[in-house]
Symmetry: C2
Subunit: 292 residues, 2 copies
């Protein structure tokens, strides 16, 4: 992890701490805070902040809102994904999952409320964020979270359990399930940075490649990692009979595919001709280097 | 039901039909459409459309988006509320609930995707809706749906099962659980109608009173209604040991309170001095007259 990342992480934590309410009806905020604070790697916020600074026109305050909004969507998806009717996971980031700690009903509501809060962060008022930017950020986030994004990808994931699927189908699932929100992190940051035109399209390519690489590496880690390193139960994919790149390609070919995809992400940054892409390069390295 | 309501309902159905996708990954859209189409009374869309027309500056296209967005939030909340870990209801609008039809995991995802779609409807692009209006509508909806609105109210509801609570606590729960979204329906419509200032505050009061009346009448119906009239299982509140106005006040006093609250809603409309409030008066009558 680079020094700039170490410097940004406490700011992200402080912003999340300020925006996820401690005072709330019936301790719902407590469950939301448990789901969000103290534990995530904050890859999505770092992507948003780095993309916002890639041009010279970054709006830091808007970028932090975008960064936290994507993280809230990510956090809610984990809470719902861990529920017994989904992956039925009891350990996440080294802690009991939200439904283990607070019960299934409160976990369901905490996830629901986190999704609403993500959008609320993006519409703080015209005096704080230009309404055109608010609307653009909400659009990017809603599309990435919804039926043609993360939720749709999870539905494919459910439908694929125990099925033999092709590499193209696996890639389609991951582009939606995890890729859409990672790409949205980059593009929401880019919107805060005033990036447009060809540079915008280049960052979209970067986000696409990075999202795919992230998932391939995740599949590799599920095989070679252990619970202590991952902060979650290892070997779950095989146990749940879920299709993965490792199952489909084998470990060596999966590693080669991850490297190839990361190289394409780096190349997209070069092609963007944006002045400040070093941080985005380093985040691609971070994704690639996750212990695999 | 008034002629104007009969005329609007097919338009609302057509808009929902167009906006909730039939084509989708892994039939997720099918579960979403099952949850939304063919069956709701569409009170919230009618409130939004009527409020949008209360002034002379209504934006009909924006109002229909606002109307459908609140209905999608309402629909998602029902899907999640019916899940076994919440109310465990098997019948809704006379049909098997979504998780009975599609399984719990798909129901969870359908609800999640409906929430995202609600926000997506409000940010169609600056050429279709002014970004300032998009941002305002997203703000009203996010606040009404989140921890200080509907989700928070549901958390209180969960915490109250089997508890003895005061009338003030019961009212607080309902203001969040159902009142917030009903009020948002009115205010989102009002925003599309260009309502501001004292008239805005008057419509907020109307929304507050109407939301409360709705819940009191709902509690009454749960006691005196039957499944055929309600389209859902009757007597669930008592069965689930949930606090209600009828349990707290008795049936006669609950009816008197409903009438008093509806009268306050009508009075707020009079005080608004808006030119076209007849439709909103009629919707208050509709809420009051729901077979109680």
């Amino acid at each position: 992890m680079k020094p700039w990342m170490r410097a940004e992480l406490p700011k992200v934590e402080a912003a999340l701490d300020a925006w996820v309410p401690a005072e709330s009806p019936a301790q719902l905020g407590e469950a939301m805070r448990y789901a969000v604070l103290d534990g995530g790697k904050r890859l999505r916020p770092l992507l948003a902040l780095a993309a916002a600074r890639s041009a010279d026109a970054g709006d830091e305050s808007a970028a932090m809102r975008a960064a936290c909004a994507v993280e809230l969507i990510h956090a809610y998806s984990l809470v719902h994904d861990d529920l017994p009717c989904m992956d039925n996971d009891v350990l996440r980031r080294g802690k009991p999952t939200v439904h283990v700690q607070y019960g299934q009903a409160q976990a369901l509501l905490a996830g629901d409320a986190l999704q609403a809060l993500a959008f609320e962060l993006l519409v703080p008022g015209d005096d704080i964020m230009p309404p055109g930017l608010s609307a653009q950020l909400c659009r990017l986030l809603a599309q990435a979270a919804g039926v043609q994004g993360m939720a749709g990808g999870q539905a494919i994931d459910l439908a694929c359990v125990g099925q033999t699927i092709t590499r193209a189908q696996l890639e389609h699932m991951h582009r939606l399930k995890t890729g859409a929100l990672l790409k949205a992190s980059v593009l929401m940051g880019a919107a805060c940075g005033g990036v447009t035109g060809d540079a915008w399209l280049a960052l979209m390519q970067y986000g696409n490649h990075l999202g795919l690489a992230f998932q391939v590496v995740d599949d590799i880690l599920d095989v070679v990692g252990d619970a202590a390193t991952l902060g979650k139960t290892a070997g779950k994919d095989a146990l749940n009979d879920k299709p993965t790149y490792v199952a489909l390609l084998g470990l060596d070919a999966a590693r080669a595919f991850a490297d190839q995809t990361l190289a394409a992400a780096h190349a997209a940054l070069e092609a963007s001709q944006l002045p400040h892409v070093q941080a985005l390069h380093e985040l691609a390295d971070l994704v690639g280097g996750r212990n695999h």
